[in-house]
Symmetry: D2
Subunit: 274 residues, 4 copies
């Protein structure tokens, strides 16, 4: 299990998401409140966009518990961005803790995170080896289910490493990825739960999912919108609310959230995949 968040809106510092909220990611690393795994101390990562410089994101991730990382502590308050993601990891017993297995994962303009588990690593690896092209295969730098799922996702995009991805295309590829994981899971008559809380963003829009087989295994997912005006509106998607503030919504157990570039939020059902 892990915990993640993703923010789109007027520029804020990374600190305002990770350190300052009462239940910010630093708190969730040692005492997650809505997760069976309370300790998420097997590494962390942040990713952000500086659209005035590049459409590709910056990623800083490391293997330490987020609470004792001095680099993040120093830079988080000095970087302001309109699009930030962050993740704290609780590794399962078979995926090693090294930077390349930490989230988010970057490909082209995209950042990808996962909260959950896809049992059956060999099965997943074979699927990836069969369906991904040479370029995507050679970009794999770790061995997690998350990175394998990302690679599957990219195979469902028309031009995965190019720019100007449409949010509806992201959503369609996400749905196909979940369907593919479900098919693999069922074909293998896998008994362990399949947990697929993914999040992908290109810095302007994002798609996040809450999905598991069986459904009751699904990790939590919440979101919060602020601001009435388009320019000032922000959306924050997070595994669990960062505070007791009003306005936090809980995603349905089998649902996909789409946040468009205008920061409108749409929830689509994934119940047909369950």
């Amino acid at each position: 299990m892990c915990r993640y968040l993703a923010y789109l809106g007027p520029p804020v510092t990374i600190s305002e998401l990770v350190y300052k909220p009462p239940n910010g990611l630093v708190h969730q690393a040692s005492a997650a409140m809505r997760s069976l795994t309370r300790i998420n101390a097997d590494g962390f990562g942040v990713g952000w966009y500086a659209p005035e410089i590049s459409p590709e994101p910056a990623v800083f991730k490391d293997t330490s518990p987020v609470w004792n990382n001095y680099n993040l502590g120093s830079i988080a308050g000095k970087i302001r961005s309109p699009a930030i993601v962050a993740h704290v990891r609780a590794a399962n017993s078979y995926d090693p803790v090294h930077r390349e297995n930490c989230h988010p994962f970057a490909r082209g303009r995209l950042l990808w995170m996962h909260n959950g588990d896809i049992p059956g690593r060999a099965r997943l690896t074979r699927q990836v080896a069969q369906t991904a092209d040479d370029t995507l295969l050679a970009m794999i730098r770790g061995n997690t289910d998350t990175e394998m799922a990302l690679t599957l996702f990219l195979t469902h995009l028309s031009d995965p490493l190019a720019g100007d991805l449409d949010v509806d295309e992201l959503a369609a590829a996400m749905r196909q990825t979940l369907a593919e994981c479900v098919t693999l899971h069922r074909q293998a008559q896998e008994e362990r739960p399949l947990e697929l809380n993914f999040c992908v963003t290109d810095g302007r829009a994002l798609v996040a999912t809450r999905f598991a087989l069986p459904g009751e295994a699904s990790p939590t997912l919440h979101w919060r919108e602020t601001g009435p005006h388009r320019d000032g509106r922000s959306v924050l998607v997070a595994s669990e609310p960062l505070s007791d503030a009003a306005g936090w919504e809980e995603a349905a157990p089998a649902a996909m959230l789409l946040v468009r570039a205008d920061r409108s939020v749409e929830s689509r059902s994934l119940a047909d995949l369950a």
Copy 2:
């Protein structure tokens, strides 16, 4: 490029191989003498056997340059073993530097190291995904050509994770692995050099190779035998001699060295694969 060594003989400390020789691995990390890549500072690893406790090896590897690793500096002089391997790494530009990509790689009773390069990662990954069984696939923890080649090697053993491996079976599997790599290389009409200086040991015997396509690309490989008596005889195989001492032999450019449990050394030609 990288540099490695492997020792079989009466117990010695790790220090006697890594720190004390004038051209020990610590020296080779910053100033390798017989390698185009003089700096091998992208991590290191040592592996050793404590046969009185377990047939499986201990592995300590880390991403720092070996010269500034205080843990190795402290423990190397306090561990004595009859079977020790060590490696310093110069990563290519596409394989990340994390512990799980450092050498040696452990599987069951075996330790595996590589000095060289297998171009065409996607090709290699697909071959592994097609030929390895679920158990071997799920053991992959990094993304290097070396670990992929190890997985291919294991598919050529009758019972790869069991004990009591025969050195002739190791040698046969090694030859098959090289042949498989050569076939993949040629089928793809790959133009970059294929460099396959591998080393595998179970703590009693070892097999090491010197092989490349084209042949002149082959990294160096040397060995040295000491002691007239079976009990006191030792064999040291290394990418380059550790000192100016007499007795260092150079392996032929397309050859496989077999060191048996009685520490006799046999060189077999691999010229037919070239």
Copy 3:
């Protein structure tokens, strides 16, 4: 807060102390049972003696949570020693997490650990700078209260870096160190608690303390003796029992435990210092 253990007895593997017991240090790292700080994930360390090779100890320590350290996981079962210490750290907010601030600390033949806190770092640093000689001062590699206290301790030994230290001399120096810390604390009218659970060993004997001002702040300390015969007798000192096994004793709140080379245990009161 932290948790530590120290073992003297017939050789055992590090695994038998760190991984195997139900409440071994790996368990205490994420769920310490007798400590206000349940998570001790800011690094760890092990130290051990190989008396057949050297009177000086080996130390392996790292900044990761002990539970996800693959190096320790690999080597702990392959190293057997008659004298082992181990420590998991919960750093306070002002001492950085880097290897040189992890415990145990090594000087000459000695290993030193601490569970507690000495408030007033500047005060302590000045005391050390005034009383330690050049050699001891130059050996300081981190900035913790623990290493400063170790340096004070060494100033109370007649020949701190030499061999053949007498356990009674260690105990006398320990008492002087505690007295020195108490004096500094009182002179400054420091209001924060002073917590001084130290442990020092030369691989043959050890001295451990349980002491705090005010007394009720003292961290826990326990020990367990096994075996009726001198050769087979072992003593294990630990911040908290490693299991529900019979035989665990709790140290008095202001006490010093002496374990001699024959593994007899003596408890001396430190109540006069309180």
Copy 4:
């Protein structure tokens, strides 16, 4: 020995200083051209200012060779700043390689770097313990000569952790620090060279020194000014030129460079200290 650079001018990305120049810091890490120590692979650091957010700098430093650090590789091109410093370290044999010993060192609004060596650590530690107040003493996080010298420097500022430091005050404190180091060195009749190439900045102005005893031991120091107009003018100070471009000047062997907020450069002699 080490290599450093400091930039003041119109905002540029960190990449433009570290990665892009032919002799950028990444190149100097493995093949410094004007240093006896060609390999500077014992950690690195970057510091930068985001004046629109905070007067205090951000610092990212790590122990890996700069050339294989993926975090820096990812973020360096996405951060643009008008004030950037960077450093690659070649540790001496007695200062451990951990993040807190890497440069730059931050205090309040200041960043501090050093290229050189101050022999006699115990002597320096005592001087610091005697002259620094509790606040400054408690801020020491590592054990290097560099951080001790920084602490001495801060004692010569009227209000070291406050804002709005005047460049002339920085220059005066720098001169006093050098004089203090020279006095300590001479009083001890130290025979090893004293090398004091420091650099301090508050993000608007900077002071850098080239100084050694004996004079011929002084590490190199260069600078380059560009742009005729005040708004577009930049100054780059570096241990060695980053390229063959015209305009690089070499600092005199005993000199202090002052770069003011208007990016005018003044060289003052330190010959009277020699």
